[in-house]
């Protein structure tokens, strides 16, 4: 009788099965991991460059008494695709980059495609010609930004036992994640604009309180070692992870409306959407944080970057990342005022994205901008037509 197994004759360390190599690398730090990957070809292909962490379990719910179950982080990533060769045909009307958001799926290796600004999932129905797989070697691909959300894992019936206020705490409106070296922390906006923080290893969330009587936060971001949260009155607070003091960042003027925070290439921006006041329409205002003085400074130009303001997902794109597919010094946003005009007819996200040009303060719907077709959805022809 033979117990089927290994042939232990002429094999050596280069033949080490991947999971054994992983077991060894798990006992060492990430630098050693990189070194192991540099030893030989088979070790390089057998070991991923970063540790595959098991899903992190965050306490559930955010406030109120603890319940059975936990939160896990769901990651969405915005990518920018560019064709390897410039599309020869109709290059006048086709965009030269494609922005897409992907959400990790339970099935490994599968991703769900989403709209980067408004987040509904795209499906084959919307665009039956989309290839089932995208070969990343066929395109130039840049990762633009990662966004996270909290997902409840556990018995769904628990939701029915909760009262209204508890249910508000069972999901996050918006979260920001700090993952630097061994430090891992999450800041969440939940309920009616409340702010809580959780650090890896903590048994529960802690609420972030400052001494103002009213604060309803609507955006939160992690930037340069600090969390920043923006409230509806225009006050920004920043929270240093090590000291945990929250110091408000002053803003030069009183502001209105839901402002969005975004971080791009080392700069933190605050974007105020257009608003009407005393018969005057105020255009987009963009502020950049002066970190030394802790002050927002109004900027007149975005320089060599374009910014995208979405529902809870705002990001910046540089000229290099989009290969000339987006116009620099512009704010791409969803024009809600005009969206209403479409009534209940299902419209494609592309149709309500507008572009505000900082140069001449003009706003145009993307559908009217030559060379923008396919920036979001439906995808450009060089993605669709590739393998039909």
């Amino acid at each position: 009788m033979r117990v089927g197994g290994i042939r232990a004759h002429s094999i050596s360390w280069t033949d080490l099965p991947n999971h054994l190599l992983e077991s060894i690398a798990d006992r060492l730090d990430s630098i050693h991991r990189l070194r192991i990957r540099s030893v030989c070809k088979s070790w390089r292909s057998g070991l991923t460059s970063s540790r595959q962490r098991p899903p992190l379990r965050l306490p559930f719910p955010i406030q109120k008494r603890k319940r059975r179950g936990h939160f896990e982080l769901v990651c969405c990533t915005v990518f920018c695709f560019q064709p390897l060769n410039n599309p020869a045909d109709n290059s006048m009307i086709a965009t030269r980059c494609w922005l897409i958001m992907t959400e990790d799926s339970q099935e490994s290796g599968k991703l769900r495609l989403k709209d980067p600004l408004t987040h509904p999932a795209y499906s084959q129905i919307l665009s039956p010609r989309l290839p089932k797989t995208l070969n990343l070697l066929d395109y130039r691909v840049f990762e633009i930004k990662k966004f996270y959300d909290l997902q409840f894992v556990g018995d769904e019936n628990i939701m029915t036992e909760m009262d209204h206020s508890e249910r508000l705490s069972a999901r996050a409106e918006k979260i920001a994640v700090c993952s630097e070296g061994t430090r891992f922390a999450v800041m969440a906006i939940h309920g009616v604009g409340l702010l809580s923080i959780w650090k890896e290893g903590d048994p529960e969330w802690r609420s972030v309180v400052d001494n103002r009587c009213f604060h309803a936060y609507n955006d939160v971001i992690y930037h340069n070692g600090r969390f920043y949260a923006q409230d509806a009155c225009g006050i920004t607070i920043s929270v240093d992870l090590s000291s945990e003091s929250s110091a408000p960042v002053r803003l030069g003027m009183q502001t209105f409306g839901e402002m969005s925070l975004l971080s791009h290439r080392g700069d933190l921006f605050l974007v105020q959407p257009p608003f009407k006041r005393a018969g005057m329409i105020h255009n987009f205002q963009v502020y950049r944080l002066n970190e030394d003085d802790g002050e927002w400074v109004l900027v007149n130009s975005l320089g060599n970057r374009a910014i995208f303001v979405g529902d809870g997902s705002s990001f910046g794109v540089s000229a290099e990342e989009c290969g000339g597919g987006c116009k620099m010094n512009c704010i791409y946003h969803i024009d809600r005022m005009h969206e209403l005009g479409f009534g209940f007819i299902e419209i494609q996200p592309f149709e309500y994205v507008a572009r505000f040009d900082m140069e001449d303060s003009s706003t145009k719907f993307l559908s009217r901008v030559l060379g923008s077709f396919g920036l979001f959805w439906p995808p450009p022809s060089w993605v669709l037509a590739w393998r039909i």
């Binding site: 009788m1 033979r2 117990v3 089927g4 197994g5 290994i6 042939r7 232990a8 004759h9 094999i11 050596s12 360390w13 280069t14 080490l16 099965p17 054994l20 077991s23 060894i24 690398a25 006992r27 060492l28 630098i31 050693h32 990189l34 070194r35 192991i36 540099s38 030893v39 030989c40 070809k41 070790w43």
Partner: protein, 162 residues
């Protein structure tokens, strides 16, 4: 299985016969299943083969026999301390010829304790070493072309390759 059997005979992949006590064999899950399924009485003429070479199997059996009493009955702290010292001595072995095969055998025989020990030993050997030192210790040839080598250097400036 018959309860009268205290030791079983197994064959290594080189065809050599080895005796292993039942309590020691129980440290391995597949061997344990085999004990439950197969009759090991004297009149049973078929001897199971374990796909591990003789040199390695001697060491594996040595480990099992040492650890079996503690695994089966539980041990005091002083025993555990002594066992740890024994493990360290036990793992002082040739990296190329034995350690690799011990690790593969521990994996194949589902022996948790030995597997952890072998992984930790390999990791300790890599700790603080440069890439070329790791190659030397584990007898691995650098099979990257000079262009690939250059690319690695650029990607991981923090790593030393020399």
């Amino acid at each position: 299985m018959s309860s009268s059997v205290e030791a079983i005979t197994v064959l290594s992949s080189d065809g050599d016969e080895f005796k292993i006590t039942v309590s020691a064999a129980k440290l391995s899950k597949p061997l344990n299943w085999m004990l439950e399924d197969v009759c090991f009485s004297d009149d049973c003429d078929e001897v199971p083969t374990i796909e591990v070479n003789s040199k390695t199997l001697v060491k594996v059996i040595e480990y099992c026999e040492k650890h079996a009493p503690r695994a089966n009955s539980g041990a005091s702290d002083s025993d555990a301390e002594e066992l740890k010292k024994w493990d360290i001595e036990f793992m002082k072995m040739d990296v190329k010829d034995i350690l690799f095969h011990i690790l593969m055998a521990a994996n194949y025989l589902h022996m948790e304790g030995l597997y952890d020990l072998a992984c930790q030993t390999a990791a300790d050997l890599m700790k603080g070493m440069t890439v070329s030192q790791i190659r030397k210790i584990f007898h691995i040839k650098n099979d990257f072309s000079s262009e690939e080598q250059e690319q690695l250097r650029r990607q991981h400036p923090g790593c030393s390759f020399d």
